[in-house]
């Protein structure tokens, strides 16, 4: 018994991002009537293709007990899929009870209002809060990806790092430069938990830690290569890179021993991922070669591949071009840029070759004797007199 059609009871208020459903003076006697109404609601929501705030108007709405459950269920389903938030106006006691049972008490109580004006005001508040939260997340994302605060590290009497602070942004390539013994490798080791600083904190993706645990670092997406190529000399290239997938391989001991289909499948999946990396770094020809037999340049590439296999968010490269000739350096630069470009990986690298640093980094941090003496864009750093005196020498 309706004086208006269902379609007339549904209104989209674009400006308020709100979808108004008007149940006032409606009676639902059985599930079929509920379904008919809600089918139209769902159809219109689907056609709109957007998500909305809901404003549901109940005064005078009568729902027979047989229809309660269906009413609440359909309402919840529509809400779940399309609602950015719901406010309700004046529901009758019976309706309230039915919906309360299905929608959850606290939630229900929080958004029933007596008048339409109150409801709309509440809706406004809800939208404002949501916007602030969204802005917050965005801000957090633009926030420093990695922040080092006042880190100090010493071994016995030797101070490796003293009070170093800097930030790197997500998606950028940052270089750390400085003379030998400046504490660059130690800095990387602190970031991924190999060394534990006596002072200071490392904040990675919003999580502040006084002291990182290597396993936690790996799990959270920090990977690194080593100055001395810490590859597993007893294994082939393929196996070395496969170890990088170890965190993702979950099959149990018995499954592996009996090579159950689940274990085989997992092995194949990871193999595929690794092969993509092998293709990316162009080392297909050497898959099965024991790593110890490869020339130095290729070993460095395998080290990189192994780090990439972890699908890291932050990649720490410790002198990735050390000991390479010009062609090898060009290849490695290309790979690093590709990694940053294609996978969006944030990269922090230690490098001595100024040409490379200037070419590929967006930000440079300069360390000397364990302290930060400068930071900025490559051009800023290059012309900084402090840096020139300590490290670059005149004439760069």
């Amino acid at each position: 018994m309706q004086d208006r059609t269902t379609a007339q009871r549904l209104t989209f208020h674009d400006a308020m991002e709100t979808f108004e459903v008007d149940f006032s003076d409606l009676t639902f006697t059985d599930t079929a009537e509920v379904d008919t109404f809600y089918d139209e609601v769902d159809r219109q929501l689907a056609a709109s293709g957007r998500r909305w705030y809901f404003l549901v108007v109940y005064p005078g709405c009568v729902i027979a007990p047989e229809a309660w459950e269906r009413f609440a269920e359909r309402g919840k389903n529509s809400n779940i899929n399309s609602s950015l938030g719901t406010v309700r106006v004046g529901a009758a006691a019976q309706t309230r009870d039915a919906i309360r049972e299905h929608a959850g008490r606290a939630f229900f109580r929080a958004n029933i209002f007596d008048t339409r004006e109150q409801a709309i005001a509440a809706l406004g508040e809800m939208r404002k809060r949501q916007r602030a939260a969204d802005a917050g997340t965005k801000a957090a994302a633009a926030d420093a990806f990695l922040r080092i605060e006042n880190v100090s590290l010493s071994f016995g009497g030797v101070k490796a790092i003293t009070g170093v602070s800097f930030e790197i942004k997500r998606g950028e390539i940052t270089s750390i430069i400085g003379p030998n013994g400046a504490g660059k490798s130690s800095m990387l080791n602190v970031i991924n938990g190999v060394y534990h600083p006596q002072q200071g904190t490392v904040t990675f993706m919003g999580a502040k830690r006084h002291d990182m645990n290597t396993h936690a670092a790996a799990e959270r997406g920090i990977a690194r290569t080593f100055q001395n190529i810490a590859l597993f000399k007893g294994m082939s290239v393929l196996d070395n890179i496969m170890t990088g997938r170890n965190l993702r391989m979950k099959s149990g001991l018995l499954a592996q021993a009996f090579r159950l289909p689940s274990a085989e499948r997992e092995e194949l999946q990871q193999r595929e991922a690794v092969e993509r990396i092998i293709d990316f770094l162009e080392i297909q020809a050497h898959r099965k070669t024991p790593v110890g037999r490869l020339p130095y340049g290729l070993q460095k590439r395998v080290d990189l591949a192994r780090a990439l296999a972890m699908e890291p968010k932050l990649l720490l490269l410790d002198e990735p071009m050390a000991g390479m000739n010009v062609e090898e350096k060009q290849d490695m630069c290309r790979f690093i840029l590709d990694v940053n470009d294609q996978f969006g990986t944030t990269i922090l690298l230690i490098e001595h070759d100024m040409g490379v640093v200037m070419d590929i980094s967006q930000f440079v941090v300069v360390l000397d004797h364990g302290m930060k003496i400068a930071e900025g864009t490559p051009d800023e750093v290059r012309s900084d007199p402090v840096v020139i005196r300590a490290y670059l020498g005149v004439g760069h």
Binding site: F155, S185, N189, V194, Q227, N228, A230
Partner: protein, 333 residues
Amino acid sequence: MRGKRNLIVLFVALLAGLIAPLATGASSAGFWVEVLLGGLMAGVLYSLVALGFVLIFKASGVFNFAQGAMVLFAALSVARMAEKMPLWAAMLLAVVIMVALAFVIERLVLRPLVNQDPVVLLMATLGVTYFLDGFGQTVWGSDIYEIELGIAKEPVMILGNLFDGGILINKDDVAATAAAALLVILLALFFQKTKTGRALRAVADDHLAAQSIGIPLNSIWVIVWSLAGVVALVAGVIWGAKLGVQFSISQVALKALPVVILGGFTSIPGAIIGGLIIGVGEKMAEVFLGPVMVKAFDLAGGGIENWFAYVLALLFLLVLPEGLFGEKHIDRV
């Protein structure tokens, strides 16, 4: 530091165990002292074997686990040669043989493996031990031979008025301890006071630096190995005189390990103390702890000294994974 605290706890526990038989009155004071002295004397033997080991490591950085087998070989040589010539001549000849043997082992086995993991060296020198076992018995025969040092073997009663019934000690044990003590003092003086001794210590610290100040490395090796050979000989003779010369791989070759773990690989006092601790620990455990365990667990006999040294070393390692006097490793990555 937590390690130090646990170490103190361990020490206190051991001391308590040591004194327990006295405190509970389970044994008379005299008997306790007897066992203690017996343990110390046994410990002296261990110390001597470990000493040779530490000497070589200290001066050349080489782990010579074949030291134990060399001790045996020395003893065997002396025992057999002494049948044909006076003891002093036999010992002199044995020194020559030992030095030659040491030289061969160093050249053939240890030098090719110079940068490998100590475990690899352990296994290689176990191989050497096996070889010397067979070789020694081939050359010198497989019976149990005796070394006559001319010291009476009967025990002597001392301090009868201090302790009820006096304390029994063996004269040859006393001689052994005296000889070992003399050796240690001489070695300490050698390393601290003589030019060669200081040179040896320099070489142990840094080969290249030592070479650059003109210390001739080759003659250093010779000196070191001769020293080790002499120590092995002394140890061998004393051991042989006491127990008869017989090969037992677990006693001779492997027992040095717990000793150097306790005492550290580079410390001469450490080797001594380690050996003494092991010796006393073993004897005390066997004599006092043994019967307690037999009663408590209804065991078929004792034999605790077979494993006590190793378990003791294990406990120390759990507390201080680098050994008592060991050096900390910092892995550069």
